[in-house]
Symmetry: C2
């Protein structure tokens, strides 16, 4: 008994319309939470909740106790030292982008590391200066028009504190949820564009040219134009140094990667190259011999914190906002890449708070706005960093340079800094390969990647990101806007209905169409849905209705004149000389022709599909029932509801029964609430499944099922005899289930 | 035989997994059209298509031959005369908003009517000057800083031609489809806001105050502030005239409406009031007596066309673009209201072409940019206008005024013009009632209305419309972003599965969860989906996996030390003094703990739900199969695909079988194309329906179906005995179908 039962799907139950089912299985009355309830729950306070919030505010309290000393410390030390050195170099390089002395770049590198150690949730990113943000801060500094160094430093620090306050505010207001709108394709496209932007921003140090700072849309082209127009002024010594360092770093990194398992720790090539470069430059006095640009004088020690300038806050709050968003977006997208790679969760709101505090503290101590550098985070991760212990160790390195050995770097070439920064962008640039893979997988995702990349390149990271997010949300609308509607037919003679184009052997009941819409219905696609439905049935219900109403008027007139006699077989036209006076018949409001057909006053029924007397022509339709499969229609809005109703009315008025199947329970409830149902469109049109509706139609239309058995015997042939009632509608159909292929 | 069959749903077939079904019913290979194919079809030319395009370019060719002379002409004449008079009055009034002489307003009223007659698809709107557009043109004129009248006229005309070119271009490029993004709620909110904007713009004429023209965001508040700060300077004569006219017009219009069926034609109250007002003002010399503002000198005849100024085009192309879009949006939304009311189709692209040509011609003859005035269209429709015959007749009226009787209007008060304009806004303002109705029907639609209204009021119509459309598209994302996921259970003991919270009598198979997601899956909701799924099953698969892997390591260690013996009943721990050295066990990469459990090297199986030896604790889970009902998941993107795969892996790795049911056919195909399937996640997890999957689970888990018959007998009780194989997994479950309520 088990075997045949086990592999058999056997069901015998009543045919269920939605109403019949509801009658038989009473629903529980459930209280649905209102918006107010949700708000109350959100506001509710409990010790657990308070503890959870407190813990989430200090992520270090969760991860530090779980630190695996033996296993991770060595990696973290190697990574921390390497990253620290890169942080020193990049801090100094990016200070040049802000147009202030390199020592401030070290402050900008130091403080965020300390703050993020306590508040951050990412284990792999290295916080601190980021070239794009530095450029954006630099553009604010240049807007102030100041030429005094101390004023420039104050401007940069003030805007940084404001950026921090904005980020902190967004974090406290829990606006971090916006990060769910950054899809993987978008992040990939955006970080690739950011890598290109950084690459272009470093060109001036490689070639050692003077390029003004741009930060508005199209800035990348302006920079490129400026670089290439001066390409003749290239300092060959700087270019050669850069290229040598780039090539060496690239090769050693490849070796590090290839022999990852054999090496105890990756070779700290950045450290080695910097020492060599500084030594060589100092030893051979490159500065005077080749006129290369060097880092220059480094004062040691910290500056006292200063109050930010209110004037800067007032004038540049817009810039601060875009710096805040771009900084967060960059940091979060890089952190997401590593979080996905190592499978841990980062918290958007907490990241906002961490970056906000980092920038507030950093700005107070005369640093400038930071986020994370793609290349530096790459160093931290690729040299084996496991936690932010690596971050705090890199802060120690920065600290040592600030207070003690900064002077050793005075003769280092700026082009060396740039080359080291570029050496780490490879991973981000490799993402170009995504485009081809995405195109094969999902066209929309590929378009998102390309759009985001182009927008971030052309419009700059700030505006580009906003435009890309808006575009990406639009794609969700596009995906649902042109649903792949299909006509279904029975496949395999049981209760399974599939797209009739897909299968060679299908079974369709004559006069019944099953139409499936696989997307929600709303204002932007209800018109498309209607067009597709009309294509599927092959006629416009409104047109049929008008023709029938016109014909009815003619018949009425004939009856009134006594020129028409009715026999059981149809009309007999008894008088001659009836001329079709179209003007006269048209002499009524067009609206009347769209009203339901009213024949109760006539002494007979009219079969619109039979031949009507003489010159009265009405298109015949081969459809008595239409089933709409709405199992994937997850919502309707009021615009589409009105459209849907007019579609249903159109069919009902020409005697086509419409059934809607597969909807969620709350679908009907919502329609009821919106006053969807009336005398014409009733809630009895809802059925549980397509097969329920089909069975109901067979019963209603009185199909005589002479032979229908439920085995899988392929040779079975079901014949139905339709036996419709009504005076003039005495026709017998012989319907075979296999009428159509 | 018919009766019982007719109301019975009887099915007996094989249990179908997607693969089994595909095997049995071979699919046809279909060629799916690529983007290129669609483009080819779009480009293809045929005589029919050419004819259709030609006809659609000249809508007049379709509607004029069908004109019902006897029936419509009288209405159209009455409407045309009334509208023509209003067009004269409004044209003059709105010319004041542009800051040029009233006669140019008559040109702006005349030419668009002629052009639209041939090219327009709306039967009821009255094209021509619109106060908001006039204000926008006025702001361009004031930006030029010119004080010479002829220069101002040239500026207005030039910008108008540019607006027309932009509209024409958009129309030819078929960009008119953007109008499907204007939902009913949005149009209702937008036109209501537009009515308020017009009302405010007319205040200065009612009170007769001098208000500068603003057209940027917040302009409505600036105008109101300006009006109220000068309220003491109100000209009482103007105010009284306005109020009297407003009240009279309002009352007579109400009477017109109430006795619609008794009156042969509505009383042309605007016409009457204008004649009286002009006469009284002239007779009693209001201008000198009360110092009221009058229309002033009217030169008769037309001006020769002039070439537009290229300088204006270059400098104000941005303004032109927003005028073009707002003009079209207003006209199209008003036209949509009437098209919905009278049930005909308007064509967005053709409307763009019609308005583009109207503005090009109007601007060439020194008119200014027009669209449709809400109030004037209201007049045209409410006085019985049926077609654009009314439009062309109103052009004749304007023409008569321009060439002959303009001088009669010289003493008319400007406040009369304003009052007549306001008298027709009632319908648009009545739309406030929508808010309450929408709130009851659909919260999102209500929010769209309010948002659109506020955006259009606060930011102005141009920016407001853009923001509102963007917001509206966002709501589509919101609707799908937080799907109402639910756990399903069998209701009624057949093949019907419903939300288990809704029904008091449900049947659940122990160890099986059925989870339904009623929305597409994409980057912004895959996280939400995962959270809801974890809530539903009650545990995190990743956590269970780590615990099990940890436990496995301990067991391995014990086995190696020979401290563990295995008996058929379970483990026996044979040695004392085993201490749980967590550090030692933790001494492995965390990633390893997330790998699939590998026990093939062990000489026994582990039943994770039984008690493990000594201090090895693993959470027990009460789930062996998870069914995901994806019948409403209409698409997945690549971000969510990756998320979905990791979710599936999580469950599969802890021995929970996952089944996905109810997907479209191309769902599996897409996943295959994206390399979704591998050793762990296989395509065999897809089943046709929930019931198929349930039956498959019963079979697979070897439930002994002692008694299961398919009648509707409520007292039936099905007992299953699970008989699992495998060394240590020798337990017998007694599962009742009614274990849970």
């Amino acid at each position: 008994m088990i075997e045949p039962m086990g592999n058999q799907y056997v069901v015998a139950r009543q045919v269920y319309s939605q109403n019949a089912f509801d009658e038989e299985h009473k629903k529980l009355k459930r209280y649905h939470k209102t918006i107010l309830d949700h708000f109350r729950i959100w506001c509710r306070c409990s010790p657990q909740k308070a503890k959870k919030i407190a813990l989430s505010l200090f992520p270090i309290a969760s991860w530090l106790p779980a630190y695996r000393l033996k296993e991770w410390l060595l990696s973290d030390i190697v990574s921390g030292v390497s990253t620290g050195l890169v942080a020193v170099l990049q801090g100094m390089a990016f200070a040049l982008l802000v147009d202030i002395s390199p020592i401030y770049g070290l402050y900008a590198a130091f403080f965020p590391l300390i703050v993020y150690f306590f508040f951050g949730t990412s284990r792999h990113i290295s916080v601190g200066p980021f070239p794009i943000l530095s450029t954006m801060v630099g553009s604010v500094v240049s807007k102030t028009g100041s030429t005094i160094d101390s004023e420039k430093v104050t401007a940069a620090a003030s805007i940084t504190v404001l950026v921090g306050l904005i980020q902190l505010g967004l974090g406290i207001l829990q606006i971090g949820f916006i990060v769910i709108y950054l899809s993987e394709s978008l992040i990939s496209g955006f970080t690739t564009a950011a890598a290109i932007q950084v690459l272009v921003s470093q060109l001036k140090f490689i070639f050692q040219l003077t390029v003004p700072s741009y930060s508005d849309p199209f800035s990348i082209f302006k920079v490129l134009k400026s670089v290439f127009s001066q390409i003749g002024k290239t300092n060959i010594a700087d270019l050669v140094t850069s290229l040598v360092i780039l090539i060496v770093v690239f090769i050693v990194k490849e070796l590090n990667q290839r022999y990852k398992h054999k090496l105890p720790a990756p070779i700290p090539i950045e450290l080695i190259m910097t020492i060599i470069a500084a030594g060589v430059s100092y030893g051979f006095d490159f500065k005077t011999r080749f006129n290369v640009a060097v880092v220059g004088e480094m004062e040691s020690g910290f500056k006292a914190p200063t109050a930010p300038s209110m004037e800067i806050w007032q004038n540049y709050i817009g810039d601060a906002f875009s710096i805040a968003i771009v900084g967060f977006a960059i940091a979060f997208s890089v952190a997401s890449v590593y979080a996905a790679k190592y499978d841990y969760r980062i918290n958007g709101n907490q990241e906002l708070i961490a970056f906000g505090l980092s920038n507030i503290v950093g700005g107070s101590f005369q640093g400038f706005a930071g986020s994370t550098s793609l290349s530096r985070s790459g160093v931290q991760e690729s040299t084996g960093g496991k936690t932010q212990i690596a971050g705090i160790l890199s802060a120690v390195i920065v600290l040592i340079v600030i207070v003690a050995i900064g002077f050793l770097l005075e003769s280092l070439q700026k082009s060396v800094l740039a080359a080291l920064a570029l050496g780490n962008l490879k991973g981000m640039l490799m993402q170009f390969g995504e485009v081809g893979r995405l195109w094969k997988k999902d066209k929309y995702d590929c378009i998102i990647w390309i759009f985001t990349f182009l927008a971030a390149i052309i419009l700059g990271l700030g505006i580009g990101l906003g435009v890309a997010v808006a575009f990406q949300l639009l794609t969700i609308v596009f995906r649902t806007q042109f649903p792949k509607c299909s006509i279904l037919a029975n496949v395999g003679r049981s209760d399974i209905y599939k797209n009739r184009k897909d299968y060679p052997e299908i079974y369709e009941t004559e006069g019944v169409k099953i139409f499936r819409c696989p997307s929600p219905l709303y204002f932007a696609n209800i018109g498309f849905f209607k067009r597709k439905l009309i294509d599927a049935v092959g006629f416009k219900p409104a047109r049929i209705l008008r023709k029938r109403n016109k014909a009815l008027k003619k018949i009425r007139k004939l009856v009134k004149k006594g020129q028409l006699q009715i026999t059981p077989k149809g009309f007999i036209y008894t008088a001659d000389g009836f001329k079709d006076s179209d003007d006269e018949l048209d002499n009524n409001h067009i609206e009347e022709l769209d009203k339901p057909i009213e024949t109760s006053d006539l002494p007979f029924h009219i079969d619109w599909n039979s031949d009507l007397p003489l010159n009265i022509e009405v298109p015949k339709i081969n459809l008595h029932s239409l089933i709409l499969d709405f199992s994937a229609v997850s919502f309707v809005d009021t615009s589409s509801m009105r459209g849907l109703k007019s579609i249903l009315q159109g069919f009902l008025r020409i005697d086509v029964d419409v059934y809607i199947v597969g909807t969620d329970d709350d679908f009907v409830e919502k329609l009821e609430r919106c006053g969807f149902f009336d005398q014409e469109v009733q809630s009895s049109i809802f059925f549980l499944t397509i097969h329920d509706a089909i069975l109901h139609i067979w019963m209603k239309k009185n199909y005589m099922i002479s032979k229908y058995n439920h085995n899988q015997e392929k040779e079975m042939k079901a014949d139905f005899t339709i036996n419709t009632n009504g005076g003039l509608r005495n026709r017998d159909y012989q319907v075979s289930m296999e009428t159509k292929l």
